[in-house]
């Protein structure tokens, strides 16, 4: 056999590489059956470079997310708890029955939600109707201006977001928020969570938390949990898009916002 050492080594190298390559290609695609919710074809078509971090091709995009709450559609206690529980469940929100409770979305009487619009002799039905409250995702959020670490910041799509990794628990944001939308973890919340959903982190003692319009769901192409559970009573969409659902209900109904005179430009609207 007239094969010299050089040729032989080359042959071994090439066939070895081929074998490893085929094993890897076959192996990798079949073994990872992780809960991947993204569209693989769309990603492949986008032709991203390897080693990069990219958005989900199915993400929901907006210039400024906003919510309209149709108060008229909230009739029974069930209508409220449906929305509140949807949020509590997926975000691992503890149920603490003292003043140290954690609230992302909750209810208050009209007089507490709109103190400056509370007339002495007002419509009886409205007077006794609880109002759903949550972070207003203000366009000019005072909480963001005072945060010393950048833990609370405004995303491109208008959502006022929390990065719990960076929160040092100084609570400046709580003092700055005129709506009481933020809660502080005075203690480890875990013992107070009925059932921990492992897909979402809990928070830890010493950080502030609040509603973030389900940013993690929007990034995966899903609507906020409370909107999904509300059976149409919560309307969600892009405030800068004249054809969006929110803009449509806002242009045909009378709506108010909480403390608009403060100039924070709240992005949660109430249709009465």
């Amino acid at each position: 056999m007239d094969i010299d050492k050089r040729k032989f080594l080359k042959l071994v190298g090439v066939s070895g590489a081929l074998w490893v390559g085929s094993r890897l290609a076959g192996g990798l695609s079949s073994v990872f059956n992780i809960r991947d919710r993204f569209d693989k074809q769309a990603l492949a078509d986008a032709g991203y470079e390897v080693g990069t971090m990219v958005p989900d091709p199915g993400e929901l995009k907006a210039k400024q997310w906003a919510m309209a709450i149709d108060v008229r559609q909230f009739k029974t206690p069930e209508d409220y708890t449906r929305c509140i529980q949807a949020c509590d469940k997926i975000h691992n929100i503890p149920d603490i029955t003292t003043q140290q409770d954690i609230k992302w979305i909750w209810e208050e009487p009209y007089s507490a939600a709109f103190p400056e619009q509370h007339n002495q002799y007002m419509e009886a039905a409205l007077k006794s109707t609880p109002i759903l409250l949550l972070c207003n995702q203000c366009e000019f959020p005072p909480c963001v201006r005072v945060c010393p670490t950048g833990a609370t910041f405004k995303r491109q799509d208008g959502i006022v977001m929390m990065d719990y990794h960076r929160c040092i628990g100084c609570r400046y944001c709580m003092a700055a928020c005129p709506y009481g939308s933020r809660s502080f973890n005075f203690k480890d919340p875990r013992p107070y969570i009925k059932k921990i959903d492992p897909a979402y982190p809990t928070r830890t003692k010493g950080v502030v938390e609040k509603c973030d319009f389900c940013a993690e769901r929007l990034d995966q192409g899903l609507m906020p949990a409370c909107v999904e559970a509300s059976k149409g009573a919560l309307i969600f969409g892009d405030l800068r898009d004249p054809d969006s659902d929110v803009r449509k209900v806002l242009s045909t109904n009378f709506s108010i916002r909480r403390k608009p005179e403060l100039g924070t430009q709240p992005n949660v609207f109430y249709i009465l």
């Binding site: 192996g27 990798l28 695609s29 809960r35 470079e49 390897v50 799509d157 830890t204 995966q220």
Partner: protein, 136 residues
Amino acid sequence: MYNSGKIITGLVLFLGVVTMPFWFNIGKADVKPDPSLDTPVIRQMKVKHCIESKQFMIDNHMELLNAWRNAVVRNNKTIYVSTAGQYFTMSLEDTCFHCHSNEKQFCDQCHTYANIQPYCWECHVKPVEEAANGHR
């Protein structure tokens, strides 16, 4: 030399005390960490391969995770394109723990050995380890 007896005794005692940790640990080699890769999901893999090469993950997993968290939380980016061109959701819970469901064996061993205490678990939920696995 005055008081040489006292000085020499003192020196010997001093040296003995200072080198005490060595005497205590003599002959007891520290057990090198040997993180277990034995989980039900990994067992079923035909080719055992992490999202990047093993050496890259050993050297750089902390930096990779740090880049992931900033990308996901601060820049709405949720997907990692690996060197092999595969796509992964950037998530401890959904991706890493899917295979490495044995946190005690896989994470804690090296972290304890290197005496570092990452506080991921204060918020991120540890995978439920199977009792049948012998972990726990």
